[in-house]
């Protein structure tokens, strides 16, 4: 796929290790934004962007509401808010009820992203212990986007990607080693 306009990565338990391995290998000139939604405890906000920005030459920042998603930037969804993507490719934050016991919920970002980017979106679901993100991947599929999961065999907690594979036909199943190459080739 050569016309990717956004990559959204969702993950929960066991996904941070994957990000720490994949980010350093990403091309510094990605032609699309990378949006990361991971479950984490409220109140640990600044830690994750700091941690990840040390691992890549791409710009890493926490999402601010109404901000425009820009190519070559890694955006981290803030804790305790849902991150939504508007039709004009700006971010909205929302403090509504948790979804799948989670806020941010991966489903919310995948679903709104699917409608905003349609066939030009790639969504990747990593390791995790609940099924957040699975419905979102179904939306991505329905709107013509590409679905990717971490190979459950390689996941620290396989439930989340395994559920996705069980409930829909996934386009790509990747080992951690293959992820960076796959992402770089979208550019």
């Amino acid at each position: 796929m050569k016309n990717c306009e956004a990559l959204i990565i969702g993950g929960s338990a066991g996904s941070l290790e994957v990000l720490l391995r994949v980010l350093p290998a990403l091309s510094p000139t990605l032609s699309f934004p990378v949006i990361i939604v991971v479950h984490r405890k409220h109140g640990t906000d600044s830690l994750l962007p700091d941690l990840l920005s040390g691992k890549t030459s791409l710009k890493v920042k926490e999402i601010e509401e109404k901000e425009q998603a820009m190519a070559g930037t890694v955006y981290i969804a803030p804790s305790d808010y849902h991150t939504l993507i508007e039709q004009n490719k700006t971010f909205s934050l929302d403090y509504s009820e948790k979804v799948n016991y989670s806020r941010p919920a991966i489903d919310v970002t995948f679903q709104t992203g699917a409608e905003a980017y349609r066939g030009k979106l790639v969504c990747m679901l990593l390791s995790g212990s609940n099924s957040d993100g699975v419905n979102g991947l179904k939306s991505v599929k329905a709107w013509g986007g590409i679905t990717v999961i971490q190979d459950p065999e390689t996941a620290q907690v396989s439930y989340m990607p395994a559920q996705a594979a069980l409930q829909l036909k996934i386009d790509y199943t990747l080992s951690i080693e293959d992820m960076a190459d796959f992402i770089n080739l979208l550019s």
Binding site: K66, L93, S96, V108, A116, A142
Partner: protein, 275 residues
């Protein structure tokens, strides 16, 4: 029920928003669409609407359902002493400054079911300022205001609220503020005495007083930039010189031309009007 492709499309959302404005004078056209659409689809699915036409008809012709619609498409999730550090700054910095005034008028805009109003009331009481304070707690939605005025919250939340209270600098036994009544915690009437719950729509209503402190947390995130500008203007008109404006943890005054007249309280989303 889950549907991969939206049950309601963008055009239908616009139709509903135009209806609300026409029939009821409620203007949601400045709201961020992704969140609003999600809320509308959630309600459509929750209420098992048979078709868009039927859903639309019911909103336009059934005033009871209309009330439910407005309550459900706006986000009313809130808690007591949410972001404890914010309330600690209110307690340690902002309110003691305002305590030197003979009278403190506070506007809590978008108060929802009232949890923050009671939180502020508790701090004012502990600072011995409640007797000379008045909290105007407003929301566009009369249903949540009725709940707020009952001063009853789920007992199951009290453990969390008590932890928040302590983290915000509270030193008393939090349970001394309420009486348990089956599954509910009923807060002391004294806390309510200085709160006026009233409807006010930030989109269409004007300023109604002058305040030393305006709090509007996690409301602006649902508005588009134009509406955010307009509402910040309304707050500016409603704020006395040297008064404080408090926003939610992900909201900011920075994009607004008004910001040059304000000085931020370090590390918090609180701005003081300095000119």
């Amino acid at each position: 029920m889950y549907s991969e492709v939206s049950l309601i499309n963008d055009e239908q959302v616009e139709i509903l928003l135009a209806d609300l404005l026409d029939h009821y004078g409620y203007d949601f056209t400045g709201y961020s669409r992704a969140s609003l659409k999600r809320r509308i689809i959630r309600l459509y699915s929750l209420d098992k609407a048979l078709s868009f036409a039927e859903f639309r008809y019911q909103i336009n012709n059934d005033p009871v359902y209309f009330k439910r619609f407005v309550e459900q498409i706006t986000v009313n999730v809130t808690e007591m002493f949410r972001d404890p550090v914010f309330f600690k700054t209110l307690r340690d910095v902002v309110l003691p400054k305002l305590g030197t005034y003979p009278f403190i008028r506070i506007w809590l805009a978008g108060c929802s079911t009232g949890e923050e109003a009671y939180s502020i009331s508790i701090i004012l009481k502990e600072l011995n300022l409640l007797h000379k304070s008045l909290i105007y707690a407003t929301d566009l939605n009369p249903v949540v205001l009725e709940k707020a005025a009952q001063s009853m919250f789920a007992l199951s939340q009290m453990k969390q609220y008590s932890e928040n209270y302590i983290a915000s600098g509270g030193q008393l036994d939090f349970s001394s503020y309420y009486t348990a009544n089956y599954s509910l915690a009923k807060f002391d009437d004294e806390l309510k005495r200085k709160i006026i719950f009233s409807t006010h729509n930030l989109v269409s209503d004007h300023t109604f007083n002058e305040f030393q402190l305006i709090l509007c947390r996690n409301v602006l995130i649902y508005f588009d930039r134009d509406l955010q500008h307009k509402v910040l203007q309304l707050f500016d008109e409603s704020l006395q010189p040297l008064g404080y404006l408090a926003l939610g943890s992900k909201e900011t005054l920075d994009f607004s031309p008004l910001s040059k007249n304000y000085k931020r309280v370090p590390a918090e989303k609180i701005w003081r009007k300095v000119s």
